[in-house]
């Protein structure tokens, strides 16, 4: 019995669960569907893990007769992403079982489950497809199903976000299609390997054009600034387990596509291409993290944090490309490895945080952080898991993302002195920007946890919140455990990625050696835990543990209410102020006098407008230009049939003239 059988079984299971969901009667079959989905994705996760550990470099799943003979193969790279996808999808399905049942009035459960299965299937297909055709078909399945999932609650805001997402994702898909067309000279049925050979013969300028198309196509899906505008709108609108899948895994599909195209199919690019990637990556990281700090909607904070994380990953990839083009393959490999490690870490902590956000939103009946608080007292175990996830997302030791940043920064600094001054300048910029982003990411995550979970509840709903059920909480616990484990096993993971040929013209047979000995997360964690227990011991020995009393918070003599607590807005005020050039937030204070004779007695309303500069300054002008053009074109629509016939004739002549 070989592994490919299990992969096929997993795919069929997912497909079957979609089918069952659509044919089952209303209000029934939900549990069966998600159970089947969880089982089949779990199987997928195990088979890809087994493949990764087996040390093989390629696994042919099937040479299917359908889809025009698209081969289904699993390489080390796609197996890695396949594993992430299936693990997260499995946990999301378990989470969905009870989570969706809380919202039966809001969502059409049958459709939601079915679409989720199709969404997962689409992503599985993207990873397995060996030709541009198969890739694009599954890419579309993934995009369309997620489009419907975004507007699952049928609210006006969701529909608007979903349509925005649809436009952006199709512009991206169009760019990817165009890129494939240029590369393969019109045939979409060549395999990627063949495409790589064809690409060798294309002139550099064409290749650069193709690269830009791919960068836009995959970058818009990955949420790179300035193509990110849809992401903070669409991700939060979806149900939380779908947000987890979209942020945790769908962004990785874009990353996977970009990796395959730029590192496997296209020959080693120029340093210009790499610099563009680095620039976009850094821009996304900085922009994303600043908005993650100042946003007050819990799911939008996470969405912006995803933009930031994807920015960091693309920066690492850009550095890998840059150093590869400079012939420093050792550092390039490490940068790529760090990017992949970060992607793994991100898949776990971000999906965990999104699922946790679902619990928070359910407790508060709102997505606003301003009405949360006090959850850690009401759901201690769950808040513990969320604390771990938040610290992991903030790239703090000893958690997963820290290991990736550590590997990267370490090697960057180690190689800095051997490069040309220009590259040095770029890398120094990368280094300090990543440090700033790291600091601000910590700010964003502590804000999320501190305002959302600590102190007194800021609304009635939260005050009466109950701890989440086991089935909802366990996937989050597992993801928190994964974040710790990925941190602990980071060296092993980096070595595993390096087993097979990661890509065609690129292999990662490299040892991960860090200065002052090898990277040893186990020792780090052990020493941290040891000092913690030392403190615990000293406390027990030196002071009386029971000698305490409960009293309300010291209030300076005036009773304090939850309304006086620091809010998310207040907490991030300083960052908003320091980065006001970028955020350009607008503060509105409206003063209305209560007594006409005395201007000092007045009621004041304060509101803070968070502006999206990219949306306002880039997208709105484009939108207006489109509208204006359409208005001009509409003038042709005068209702006279002769005129239309004349138009068709002119169009035909022009087309023929161009074509011949």
């Amino acid at each position: 019995m070989n592994l490919s059988f299990f992969v096929v079984l997993s795919l069929s299971g997912v497909f079957l669960s979609a089918l069952i969901s659509f044919i089952s009667a209303k209000g029934q079959g939900h549990r069966a569907v998600v159970t089947l989905l969880a089982l089949s994705t779990g199987l997928g996760a195990f088979s890809s893990a087994a493949f990764l550990l087996s040390g093989q470099s390629q696994l042919t799943i099937t040479q299917s007769a359908w889809l025009f003979g698209t081969p289904f193969v699993l390489s080390v790279l796609s197996a890695l992403f396949f594993f992430l996808l299936n693990t997260v999808a499995c946990l999301a399905s378990v989470y969905a079982m009870k989570y969706v049942e809380q919202y039966t009035e809001v969502y059409n459960v049958r459709v939601l489950d079915g679409l989720m299965a199709i969404f997962v299937l689409g992503m599985q297909g993207v990873l397995l497809a060996g030709t541009p055709f198969g890739f694009l078909v599954f890419w579309e399945i993934m995009s369309l199903s997620s489009f419907f999932l975004v507007m699952a609650d049928k609210e006006a805001a969701s529909v608007r976000a979903a349509l925005f997402y649809l436009i952006m994702t199709h512009l991206g898909a169009g760019a990817i299609l165009a890129g494939f067309m240029i590369l393969s000279n019109g045939s979409l049925l060549e395999s990627f390997t063949r495409l790589a050979i064809l690409a060798q013969h294309l002139p550099p300028s064409t290749l650069f054009g193709v690269f830009l198309l791919f960068l836009f196509g995959f970058g818009s899906k990955a949420g790179l600034v300035p193509f990110h505008v849809w992401l903070p709108e669409a991700h939060p609108q979806a149900p939380s387990h779908i947000s987890a899948l979209m942020s945790g895994v769908m962004l990785k599909m874009a990353l996977y596509g970009f990796l395959v195209m730029t590192f496997t199919v296209l020959p080693i690019g120029s340093s210009t291409a790499a610099l563009i990637v680095i620039a976009l990556g850094l821009l996304s990281a900085v922009y994303g993290v600043i908005y993650a700090v100042i946003e007050r909607d819990v799911k939008r904070v996470l969405a912006f944090s995803s933009i930031e994380n994807m920015g960091i990953i693309f920066t690492m990839l850009g550095v890998a490309m840059l150093t590869q083009s400079q012939g420093m393959s050792a550092f390039s490999h490490v940068a790529l490895g760090a990017a992949l490690l970060f992607a793994i870490a991100h898949a776990f902590f971000k999906s965990g945080l999104f699922m946790g956000a679902g619990v928070m939103v359910h407790a508060a009946h709102s997505r606003s952080l301003e009405v949360m608080g006090g959850l850690s007292k009401r759901m201690p175990a769950f808040s513990g898991a969320m604390l771990i996830l938040a610290l992991a997302a903030a790239a703090l030791p000893p958690f997963s993302a820290f290991m990736a940043e550590w590997t990267f920064v370490q090697n960057l600094v180690a190689n800095l002195s051997t490069m040309s001054p220009f590259i040095q300048g770029v890398l120094v910029l990368v280094l300090v920007t990543m440090a700033l982003v790291g600091g601000l990411a910590l700010f964003a995550m502590i804000k999320l946890f501190g305002i959302g979970f600590l102190a007194e509840p800021r609304s009635e709903h939260v005050a009466h919140a109950k701890a989440p059920g086991k089935l909802i909480a366990i996937p989050i616990y597992l993801l928190a455990a994964c974040s710790v484990l990925v941190g602990l096993l980071a060296p092993a993971i980096l070595r595993t990625i390096g087993y097979g040929d990661l890509t065609v013209n690129y292999d990662l047979h490299t040892n991960i050696v860090l200065g002052g000995g090898s990277m040893n997360p186990g020792k780090l964690l052990a020493l941290l835990v040891a000092t913690f227990f030392l403190v615990l011991l000293l406390r027990r020995v030196l002071s009386n543990v029971k000698h305490e009393r409960e009293y309300h918070t010291w209030d300076c003599g005036q009773p304090i209410t939850p309304g006086m607590e620091f809010t998310a807005t207040a907490f991030s005020a300083s960052i908003r102020f320091f980065f006001r050039v970028i955020t350009r937030t607008k503060k509105n204070v409206i003063t209305t006098p209560i007594i006409a004779s005395n201007p000092w007695i007045a009621s004041r309303t304060f509101s803070l407008e968070l502006r999206q500069i990219w949306y306002d300054d880039l997208y709105v002008p484009i939108q207006n230009a489109c509208l204006w053009t359409s208005t001009q074109v509409r003038k042709l629509q005068n209702g006279v049939i002769q005129f239309y016939i004349a138009l068709i004739f002119i169009a035909l002549v022009v087309t023929l003239a161009i074509a011949l």
Binding site: L387, Q410, L416, L542, Y551, W554, F566, F577
Partner: protein
Amino acid sequence: MNSFLLTLVQFIAVILVAPFVTGLVRMCKARFQGRHGASPFLPYITYATLLKKQMVISKSTSWVFRLVPFVVLATTLFLVCVLPLLVFGGAFVSLGHFMIVAGVLALGAAFLVMGGLESASAFGGMGASREMTLASLVEPAMIATFATFSIVTGAFTVDAMFANAHILTSPALIPAIAALIMVALAENARYPVDNPATHLELTMVHEAMVLEYSGPYLAMLEYASAVKLTIFSLLVANILFPMTLAVDATLVAILITIAYMIVKVIVVSFLLALLESLIAKMRFYRMQEYMTIAFFFALAGLVFALIHITL
């Protein structure tokens, strides 16, 4: 065995001397104000008193509030284990990688901030917000400083960096050390970033976060900040005089390094008190200027180091 012994000596010496450093700074400041001032050994007694006192825990708080003092103190003790404070080549120097040091400092700051937020009062939140801002803005300067040291010395652990940093042969270290001092002041909530002696909640940073803590927990937090101050005092002194650190665990070497340590903390405490008496606290909303200056010092060091190496 040798390295374990060295680390043990460093650990015990630093945790014993830490309250003295805080007390000494306070005494020097009192002298600068023309006062007699309390004995430098007062903090020992204060902590002992606090350990015996009752704790009053706010009803608004949860388990995080209780976790905070332990984590904050544990992270500072972690740093005492891994950094070259009294000795070179301790048992855990491989964990003294600069990314880990920066990360563990940030971890401690993050927990302190959560402790501040837990109190559910506006003061705690205000202090938390400020501390978080400082902790996140100090990060680029800190990483750039350490990167400079790393490039100059070719090492990645703070231990090896300090052992190989020869300030006379590498002038790039001078701006880096200036940046390190500015980072140290910000990390320890001293002037011009924070006023450690203030009683006004509206101007507090560090103090505002611990307002809700009492008894042993307060002792732990104050002790942690004392240890942190000692760590940074010794670090700044050691980068200038690396020859004062012991490398092997003979009795003579240990005694000499402890004597050096006492001299170093006295000198640094005096200079810190002098600095705090000479300058005023900056407005909090001008803190990004301070951080930018620190960052550009560090960046200048980095650029000089790269030019120095390339030439």
